[in-house]
């Protein structure tokens, strides 16, 4: 009996240790994967920054002016300028009574009606 217990103990310890080893290797594997992805992310952000710089350079006024001169585009400021002021008040929005502004997916509607468990949050006026 003690032999059987000892064997069980050894098996358990071996199992635990194998788990530990596995976990450790996984930790390393995930770490390398994270490091790899971080490196990729860093490369992509650097590339993004480079592209943003290129865009800014291409949009810079002196560059555009240089291109305008090179292409010989005879752009000049207009002699007559017409300014139309757009009223700042927000336009009144009228709703078509035929179309509901609320949209609930059909599946969600049926689930709601059948189960009666899905509730939607409603904003309440503060008093």
């Amino acid at each position: 009996m003690p032999m059987k217990n000892l064997m069980s103990l050894i098996v358990s310890i071996t199992f635990v240790m194998l788990c530990y080893v596995h976990l450790q290797t996984e930790v390393f594997r995930v770490s390398y994967s994270i490091a790899e992805k971080e490196k990729r992310l860093s490369q992509l952000s650097d590339h993004y920054r480079e592209l943003r710089f290129e865009v800014s350079k291409l949009k810079s006024l002196n560059y555009l002016d240089k291109k305008r001169r090179e292409k010989d585009v005879a752009l000049v400021a207009p002699e007559k300028v017409r300014t139309i002021r757009i009223p700042m008040a927000s336009p009144r929005i009228t709703e078509d009574p035929g179309i509901s502004s609320e949209y609930t997916p059909i599946l969600k509607k049926s689930l709601t009606s059948v189960l009666g468990v899905i509730k939607e949050a409603q904003a309440k006026m503060s008093r």
Partner: protein, 583 residues
């Protein structure tokens, strides 16, 4: 038994006797401190457009100690990096474990180095400061050195805000030196540099630089400067210098090209200074608008040895006509009524001989001799801008006194400094240094300056449909203690619209060739920039208003546009007090 004892002894040695040394070795082999580079702060214009950015660029290094065939390696590297073979060889022959071969190389060069797959060479990515607008803003923003430290302009002055602080990651590495992220022990995050928003408007700056550059090239001038300012608040909207430089290219050549000469260099302002004399005499009620002055037909012998000349011979001129025709003789006679003391006091009140207080590096005081140092003939020189020296910024601030109803404002360019979390570290509010003139006096002088543009020497500054006020200036440069007859400074200072000024501007052309009068070389630059800028700001000339769809009154429109100049998304509460005058 003996083997067992040997093993036991070894175990005791390793775990007890050499424990500390071995632990230290383990720590050294596995501990890793990774520096996390911070990002240098951004520099933005008033509309949040980026003027300075950071990108990562490769820098190439070598490990000379492990290179055997240095001659061959130098040859290979020379062809890739485009550098002299002897230069590379001298680097490789150093007895060092690390030498830079090329800082801030190109991606293509880095790829070529990577393709060599040599453990003796390496690539490190470093931050590099780049300026998408190239030469535009160069003298204001300045630039950074190879280690990203600001060494000119705003980059230098505000380096402590912009540079930020690097972070650190204390972690472990494996046998191959790879970082094991999961064993990270401590993280000190980097602090990115703060962002600086300027009062400069990219479009107005572009207009200014373009026009100034054209004049600079056309007249083959030695130098040129221009500043555009909101006269009510002191916000600088544009500041340009010629010659200039491209901060993205390797910086070499004359350091004078890199200076912001609008605040670091002085010149005798010449006739533009007559504004101060006229305003002072009128404010002190020493002259009235109908007073007449005998301009001596262009030549006035004050003493046997002291003669003053006018460009054209004039007889009797009224006080406004003296300004309109820019008569030196008339101006001296006006100043004589005021007296030395009165003139000196107003020169100081207008801010000459002291810094304007602009938040940029290197501003100088200019030269105004104290009254006890004035000679007997100083009163015949100072009134038309001789024997005094001022920066273009001082002159513009002085003319803004007339434009804004008598207030001497402090010019500024740094609107706001915000850290990476958008916390405002510093913000600048408009500041009035002192009241110099009463509003009515300023209004009258403004009317006189309008006549200078309408009928006098500043006709080239006229803008169709917009009232412009200004003054031309042409001064001889001092050469070996005497005034040169071949080297001049042509300038124009003014503001528009004259009845409710939105923009004040000064243009200065140093040693122009072919023509030198301020009205010829500088006034057209003013006209072009101010017309374009007012259109951009939503102000349109009267004639066009009448023919257009718009029916809003001019004053109302000016006010709206003036608010547009003075406010910004970052500082919406800043509202300009309009001068409230109309003609």
């Amino acid at each position: 038994m003996s083997i067992f004892l040997l093993i036991a002894g070894q175990l005791v040695r390793l775990s007890l006797i050499d424990r500390n040394a071995l632990l230290e070795l383990v720590d050294r082999q596995h501990s890793l401190v990774v520096e996390i580079k911070q990002s240098r702060g951004r520099i933005l214009d008033r509309n949040m457009k980026e003027l300075a950015m950071n990108i990562k660029v490769p820098s190439i290094y070598a490990v000379p100690r492990i290179i055997r065939d240095k001659e061959k390696m130098a040859g290979t590297l020379s062809s890739i990096l485009g550098k002299d073979k002897s230069f590379i060889l001298s680097r490789l022959e150093r007895d060092k474990a690390f030498v830079w071969l090329d800082r801030h190389a190109t991606q293509k060069q880095a790829e070529a180095i990577r393709d060599l797959k040599s453990p003796k060479l390496g690539i490190v990515y470093e931050n590099k400061r780049l300026y998408p607008n190239g030469e535009l803003f160069a003298n204001i923003i300045g630039f950074c050195d190879i280690d990203n430290q600001g060494i000119e302009g705003i980059e230098m002055t505000y380096d402590k805000f912009l540079k930020g602080r690097p972070g650190y990651r204390f972690t472990k590495r494996d046998a191959l030196g790879r970082e094991v992220v999961a064993f990270e022990e401590k993280l000190v995050p980097p602090v990115d540099g703060a962002s600086i928003s300027l009062t400069i408007d990219q479009y107005i700056q572009y207009l200014t630089e373009r026009s100034l550059d054209e004049a600079f090239k056309k007249y083959k001038a030695k130098g040129a400067m221009a500043v555009v300012m909101n006269p009510h608040t002191g916000e600088i909207l544009a500041m340009a210098n010629r010659p200039t430089f491209n901060p993205n290219e390797s910086i070499s050549g004359d350091p004078a090209e890199r200076r912001n000469r609008t605040i670091t260099d002085i010149y005798e302002p010449g006739s533009v200074f007559k504004i101060v004399t006229a305003a002072a005499a009128y404010a002190e009620k020493k002259v009235s608008l109908t007073d007449q002055f005998d301009c001596e037909k262009g030549t006035w012998y004050i003493t046997k040895r002291r003669v003053i000349h006018d460009v054209h011979p004039y007889g009797m001129l009224t006080f406004p006509q003296v300004m309109q025709k820019s008569s030196n003789i008339g101006t001296v006679k006006i100043a004589m009524r005021l007296g030395e003391k009165g003139l000196y006091e107003y020169i100081r009140k207008f801010g000459f001989g002291q810094p304007t207080g602009i938040d940029l590096p290197g501003e100088i005081n200019g030269i105004v001799h104290p009254l006890n140092k004035w000679s007997k003939i100083s009163i015949t020189s100072v009134p038309y801008g001789h024997e005094v020296a001022a920066t273009t910024m001082q002159m513009l601030t002085a003319v803004s006194v007339v434009a804004n109803g008598g207030r001497l404002v402090r010019p500024f360019m740094i609107r706001e400094i915000k850290d990476a979390q958008n916390v405002v570290l510093k913000s600048t509010e408009p500041m009035v240094r002192q009241m110099v003139l009463e509003e009515e006096i300023a209004e009258t002088i403004s009317d006189i300056l309008r006549q200078v543009v309408d009928e006098g020497t500043g006709k080239s500054a006229q803008i169709k449909g917009i009232k412009v006020a200004g003054k031309t200036g042409t001064s001889q440069k001092l050469e070996g203690g005497t005034y040169s007859h071949s080297k001049f400074v042509g300038s124009f200072v003014g503001f528009a619209p004259a009845d409710n000024p939105m923009l004040a501007m000064i243009v200065m052309i140093d040693e122009p060739r072919g023509a030198y009068y301020g009205g010829v070389v500088a006034a057209p630059v003013f006209q072009e920039v101010i017309e374009g800028s007012l259109r951009y700001l939503g102000y349109f000339p009267n004639e066009e208003l009448k023919s257009g769809v718009q029916s809003i009154k001019n004053d109302k429109q000016t006010e709206t546009a003036a608010k547009k100049v003075a406010t910004s998304p970052a500082n919406p509460t800043l509202v300009v007090a309009p001068a409230g005058r109309s003609n």
